[in-house]
């Protein structure tokens, strides 16, 4: 798991039946942190797509493997009884014990190819402000995604300058 203490940490099994609970929890918490409805839905979609990719590709559809989801409210959380949210953004870290792959190989596919499959990575990169895939030190992969409430121009995710 990541070193810094998350505000929420969830462990679920790699069963697609469970994804709805994870994504709706993330959407609900995003709204409470002050994200607009469309942004909260986008964050939930990104989480769902990430879980799907782990389940389909990382774990090759095994339904009993662990996935860890951590939420970090950037800027902190509102105090009890206050209506304004200090949360500037949301960092989501998703980790697994799946087979490690070269993060540079995780790419979006061209959208002018109208065919099924391969859209998940595009969706994640499109809706989140920062997306980083990396190998965990010992096993598995880690995906870190950041969405800011008032986003700046997108950071480049590993592409050459």
């Amino acid at each position: 798991m990541s070193a810094e203490q998350p505000h929420v940490r969830l462990e679920i099994l790699s069963n697609p039946l469970l994804n709805c609970g994870a994504r709706e929890m993330v959407a609900s918490m995003s709204r409470r942190m002050g994200f607009a409805e469309d942004a909260a839905c986008q964050i939930a979609l990104a989480v769902d797509e990430a879980l799907c990719n782990i389940e389909r590709h990382g774990y090759d559809r095994q339904t009993d493997r662990p996935i860890w989801l951590s939420l970090h409210a950037i800027g902190g959380l509102a105090q009890n009884g206050t209506s304004s949210s200090p949360t500037e953004g949301l960092k989501i870290v998703i980790e697994d014990e799946a087979q490690q792959i070269d993060p540079n190989l995780i790419k979006s596919r061209p959208l002018d190819e109208i065919r099924p499959g391969g859209l998940g990575v595009h969706i994640i990169r499109e809706v989140m402000d920062e997306v980083i895939y990396e190998q965990r030190p010992n096993s598995g992969m880690r995906l870190t995604m950041i969405k800011m409430r008032n986003p700046q121009p997108k950071k480049d995710n590993g592409a050459p300058p």
Partner: protein, 116 residues
Amino acid sequence: MNDSALTIISRVEGDATIVSPAGDIDLNGAPAFKSQLRTIQSALKPGGRLVIDLSAVPYMDSSGLATMIESMQAARRQSFKLILCGLTPRVRAIFEIAKLHTVFTIKGTLAEALAA
């Protein structure tokens, strides 16, 4: 939010076959939906119409998009017309993120789809 399992109802109205899924079309529900769509599509004749009414689908992910793309490919192979209708804002958003909203024929309501 509809958290129940995906259900799919189909009926024929004139030259149109109307498919009405209800529930989330995600990695959990998409395989069954794809299977039923394939069965329905195999019975369609050239020149016919397949209307997929998504008004009772609160959520769709890329698994659902892939199912729609497969249906569009079947429409091209078998020369039937595919029309989507009733997209909720959340479902329409994923079509737009994937730049697919201009690829499909999308109508606002079932009535508009049947009149198309």
